[in-house]
């Protein structure tokens, strides 16, 4: 008897829990696009179908357990087959499923319609950051985890957007259809923002498409959802949706800044300037593998006291510019400016007890990157 009461209590709890489940932060977000709302309603319809079926099936089961228990003197009946009942309980689920497939198909077709986009963005996954390129706009940047390492290691107070913040978010205009082209430089990643209901794998060597039309300005946060190695948890996606006018301003600012960055490569940089800039670049791009103290970890080589690197500055620059095939060491040729490359190389050659004393000037790098083939 106690068994039964416990079962019933369990059943009641789940009924009580259901509204809790629908509360904010416990359920799928409704999101800010037409697609995300469609998906949300599909999710809720199928959820309630399951609840109704569950109530009927579990109801019949618990009724039988209670009503026909041996201790109450129940005598077992002998029936063991009933074709028409079986046909009915096969046909009804079939009909429900057909009913469910219709709206699901419509939503899916809509999700696959990437035509007539106002803006194309190339999203590239890299261990462990995202790179965004505004196609046709000459604007490109990487977006790295913004949460300081101290917060992760527990030596600092965790912020509100712990692990869901980046140094540079993807900025998108609201109301415009944005086509996302996704690929990867190394392993498979997956780009996901729940509020936008966009999740698409980024696969090396192949390009996937998805699209989004955001309806409200705001900041939307997500994460990489395909296991991509050790820092899989630390490559968030942040999308900042702004009004189209603001977006155009932002694009102009970006281009301006890039031009300034390029022209600043011409002048002579002092050692401290390079070191300061280099430390910044190193912290956001390199430290997750080679570690803050340059000691490396696991398969990631130490840079402190790395003789191959210290003996040959060309070799060092080549690694940073071109990367190493088949490893997490990406090519930074298109990701970093000449100033940044010069700065980070200089930093690596003079930090953590490395005392080469070399400083690599941005102009040297710029020359190296520019056309020497002709």
């Amino acid at each position: 008897m106690r068994t039964l009461l416990a079962w019933i209590a369990g059943g009641l709890t789940s009924v009580v829990l259901t509204p809790v489940a629908l509360a904010d932060g416990w359920n799928m977000p409704v999101g800010v696009t037409a697609i995300s709302r469609d998906i949300y309603s599909l999710h809720m319809i199928i959820f309630w179908i399951c609840v109704v079926i569950g109530v009927i099936v579990f109801g019949a089961m618990f009724y039988s357990l209670f009503r026909y228990r041996h201790s109450r003197g129940a005598k077992a009946a002998t029936f063991h087959e009933h074709t028409s009942v079986e046909v009915i309980w096969t046909a009804i689920p079939l009909l429900i499923l057909v009913g469910m497939a219709v709206p699901a198909t419509a939503t899916l077709k809509n999700m696959y319609d990437t035509s007539e986009a106002d803006l194309d963005i190339m999203v590239t996954g890299q261990q462990w950051r995202w790179r965004y390129e505004y196609l046709g706009e000459d604007v490109a940047f990487t977006s790295n985890l913004g949460t300081p390492r101290e917060q992760i290691n527990g030596t600092g107070e965790k912020g509100e957007y712990y692990l869901l913040e980046v140094d540079e978010p993807l900025v998108l205009p609201v109301g415009q259809k944005v086509r996302l082209l996704l690929t990867s430089d190394d392993v498979i990643h997956s780009w996901w923002v729940p509020d936008l209901a966009v999740k698409q794998d980024a696969i090396p060597g192949f390009v996937n498409e998805n699209w989004v039309r955001i309806e409200e300005p705001g900041i939307y946060r997500g994460q990489c959802t395909e296991l991509c190695g050790k820092d899989h948890a630390f490559m968030p996606v942040v999308v900042e949706a702004v009004k189209p006018e603001r977006f155009d301003e932002w694009l102009a600012e970006r281009k301006e800044a890039a031009a300034q960055e390029a022209s600043s490569a011409d002048r002579e940089w002092a050692m401290d300037e390079l070191m300061e800039r280099g430390q910044q670049v190193y912290g956001s791009l390199c430290a997750s593998c080679h570690q803050e103290d340059g000691q490396g970890i696991g398969n990631f080589p130490a840079l402190a006291g790395n003789e191959a690197m210290l003996d040959d500055v060309d070799w060092h620059i080549d690694r940073v510019v071109n990367g190493v095939s088949g490893t997490a060491m990406a090519s930074f040729r298109n990701t970093l400016s000449a100033v940044e490359i010069a700065a980070v190389v200089t930093y690596e050659r003079n930090a953590w007890g490395n005392e080469s004393g070399d400083s690599v000037q941005p102009s040297e790098i710029a020359e190296r990157l520019a056309d020497q083939g002709e």
Binding site: Y112, D113, T114, S115, E116, A117, D120, M122, T124, L135, G136, R179, L181, T183, D185, D186, P204, G205, F206, V207, N208, E209, D318, V321, N322, G323, V324, S325, G326, T327, M329, A330, S331, R333, N334, R368, L369, D371, Q372, G373, E374
Partner: protein, 198 residues
């Protein structure tokens, strides 16, 4: 049937069952490997995954469909470990289905030494890939460039008239990958066999 006979029947039965299951087993193992080329064929027929044919195709002489324009975008990417750059003369072209078009790509080896590379194509949306016919493409074979060398290579392509009407933009992405010549020789689908048929 005596007890003894029965055991003999059982033994025969067991032997038969084991033989049959072993045959199925061998068949399934072979099937797993057969799936690799089957998948390629399936991809090529259906355009699954945006793969394109890796051999040159013939121009289909068909009337140019002047009633609609399709935008073809080109994106070039280099991958790690290769001091090369790949550029395209134009970021996008507007074409009519049926028309044949030529676009020029430039390879540059920025390194000091000779190296090999191959450009691997991918088409999006994947449904378009069956309708994209490449009459000539640098992507059919690997390239070798001496240090500092530069090479211009054309892509000649045609979008067939039966391209679905809802496809208005086709994106063609080329990713440059380094090739070790030794590695290429044993690749099951490496440049060797493709070079033969190209």
């Amino acid at each position: 049937m005596s007890h003894h006979d029965e055991q003999a029947t059982n033994r025969d039965g067991v032997r038969r069952t084991v033989t049959r299951t072993l045959v199925v087993l061998a068949g399934m193992f072979a099937f797993a490997f057969a799936l690799v080329p089957l998948y390629d064929v399936f991809c090529e027929v259906t355009g699954l995954n945006g793969k394109t044919s890796n051999t040159a195709q013939m121009l289909v002489h068909e009337e140019v469909d002047t009633s609609r324009m399709v935008t073809v975008q080109f994106i070039t990417r280099a991958s790690a470990g290769l001091p090369w750059e790949l550029d395209v003369e134009t970021r996008q072209v507007r074409v009519h289905p049926g028309q044949s078009n030529e676009v020029s790509f430039t390879f540059r080896n920025r390194g000091g030494e000779a190296s090999h590379a191959k450009a691997v194509p991918s088409v999006s949306p994947s449904e378009a890939s069956v309708h994209l016919r490449k009459l000539s493409c640098f992507c059919f074979q690997e390239q070798r460039l001496a240090g500092g060398e530069r090479l211009e290579a054309p892509l000649v392509f045609q979008l067939t008239r039966d391209l679905p009407a809802d496809i208005k933009t086709v994106t063609l992405v080329y990713t440059l990958y380094p090739v070790q010549p030794a590695q290429a020789a044993v690749s099951p689908r490496g440049p060797i066999e493709e070079g033969d048929s190209a």
